[in-house]
């Protein structure tokens, strides 16, 4: 072992790492919020049993679930200028790819969660005179979201790690910054180790929270 670890060069670039971390968090958060929001509608469409909603939603889910996110991101970035009369920037392309992917996966979590609620719960709401949306809002979602939370938390952790794929189209998140720093300083081992540590420091608390939810999930039923 004669490799000379030298983290001093890293400290010189802490500003760049900081910007990278901010960009990672921004990209991840935007995609998470949009993905979970639209995922509910896609999941509900798959759940509804109405064929004209089910088929388009299913095609969407399968396309984005079964192609690599890396390819989706590159595709949006490079193909958009060809098929549409405008370019999109790296952030938009990355968030499109990651959001659509998150919609596809989260819609499946919603669908499975909705299906896990017994038919009698819908009937009880209906018998009181609730409309479909009232049954959904007051009876079904409050119960099923509780069951979905651990899966969503896992999805969020995955998503934050996937933001690193945006580095291939030069979006300045953590891994891209690491790439820049390591080509200037020739210290890829130190920079990528630092990136790993930063990710770990952010995501490990999240997984702890996931575990909390999994154990506390039984409250109320």
């Amino acid at each position: 072992m004669d490799y000379n670890w030298d983290f001093s060069s890293i400290l010189l670039y802490k500003q760049l790492f900081w910007i990278g971390l901010q960009n990672t968090v921004i990209l991840g958060s935007v995609c998470l919020v949009l993905g979970l929001f639209f995922g509910l509608f896609v999941g509900a469409a798959r759940f509804s049993g109405k064929l004209w909603l089910y088929y388009p939603a299913t095609v969407f889910v399968e396309v984005f679930r079964n192609t690599p996110v890396l390819v989706q991101i590159m595709w949006f970035f490079f193909a958009f200028p060809i098929i549409a009369p405008f370019r999109i920037d790296a952030f938009t392309a990355a968030s499109l790819g990651l959001t659509l992917n998150t919609i596809a996966f989260s819609s499946e979590i919603y669908r499975a969660g909705l299906q896990s609620i017994a038919k009698g719960q819908w009937e009880a709401g209906k018998a009181l005179g609730m409309s479909y949306s009232e049954q959904m809002r007051r009876v079904i979602l409050p119960q099923s979201i509780r069951r979905m939370l651990p899966a969503f938390m896992n999805r969020a952790v995955e998503l934050f790690k996937m933001t690193s794929l945006a580095s291939v189209i030069a979006y300045g998140e953590l891994v891209y910054q690491a790439k820049v720093i390591s080509t200037i300083e020739f210290n890829p081992i130190e920079t990528y180790t630092t990136v790993a540590l930063v990710f770990f420091a952010v995501l490990f608390p999240m997984t702890i929270i996931v575990r909390r939810f999994e154990t506390n999930n039984s409250v109320g039923r």
Partner: protein, 261 residues
């Protein structure tokens, strides 16, 4: 006595299978109607057609002499919002209680007034407490369903339906899922309601209870009313063979009356 509910020529098919083949029934205010019959005779389906949990294939239903649905060139349309309004006026109690597990007992009972009737919070709480008290469970207001026995859960479910202050209550085998020792408290609650003049239709296998509370007993067989009348006419002196066979099956094993010495 004023008419609360009238069923005319009710038919219901699931695919090729006709479950109800023409049912007529008039229920007057304060009456308790008990429906008995073998499983598959259509009694639950009949009950579920009254509040349109199942939409009838043919026939009309009148609540307080108002026909449900819009007739248009011989076919009847049932707009979902009209059905929701109807269901708000008809209480239903299910075999498996179907309480909302994420709400306390009180919240369960308040839910209908709150979400459907849009009562203000104070009124909802007043009704919630009133009807919990009525079923004798005001002391369990803050308990979740999972912390209650089956009998208590079913009584909460009755309170939840009552809180809507319905014109009529439907009980779909309300005691069939209960352990034997818990059946009594639920039947007791139902009997109190009947005594207070609530209009009720009850589907049950508890023949002794039927005898005690019913103003009228219907015996359903193959989607038709085979026999109807007072409890004594139908349960003690049945005329039709179908009714006799059904009752004989129920009476095969009976405890002997205690001998008084």
């Amino acid at each position: 006595m004023t008419e609360v509910l009238r069923i005319e020529g009710l038919r219901k098919s699931f695919g090729d299978l006709e479950v109800l083949s023409g049912i007529d029934l008039t229920v007057k205010k304060g009456q308790t109607i008990v429906i008995i019959g073998a499983s598959g005779s259509g009694k639950s389906t009949m009950l579920r057609c009254v509040n349109f949990m199942e939409v009838p294939t043919a026939g009309r239903i009148y609540l307080e002499t108002q026909a449900v649905g819009l007739e248009n060139n011989g076919t009847v349309q049932y707009p979902e919002n009209e059905l929701a309004k109807l269901r708000a006026r008809v209480g239903m109690v299910f075999q498996h209680f179907n309480l909302f597990p994420h709400m306390t007992a009180l919240q369960n009972v308040m839910e209908g007034p709150r979400t459907v009737l849009k009562c203000d919070l104070e009124e909802c709480q007043r009704r919630g407490k009133k009807y919990l008290k009525k079923v004798g469970l005001d002391w369990k207001a803050d308990a979740f369903p999972s912390q209650l026995s089956g009998g208590q859960q079913q009584r909460i479910a009755i309170a939840r339906a009552l809180a809507m202050e319905p014109e009529i209550m439907l009980f779909d085998e309300a005691t069939s899922a209960l352990d034997p020792e818990l059946v009594g408290e639920v039947l007791e609650t139902m009997k109190e309601l009947a005594d207070e003049g609530m209009t009720m239709i009850i589907v049950t296998h508890e023949l002794g209870f039927a005898y005690a509370v019913a103003d009228k007993v219907l015996f359903l067989s193959e989607g038709r009313i085979l026999e109807q009348g007072t409890p004594s006419e139908v349960l003690t002196y049945p005329k039709k063979d179908g009714t006799k066979n059904f009752l004989r099956g129920h009476g095969t094993f009976r405890l002997p009356e205690p001998q008084i010495e």
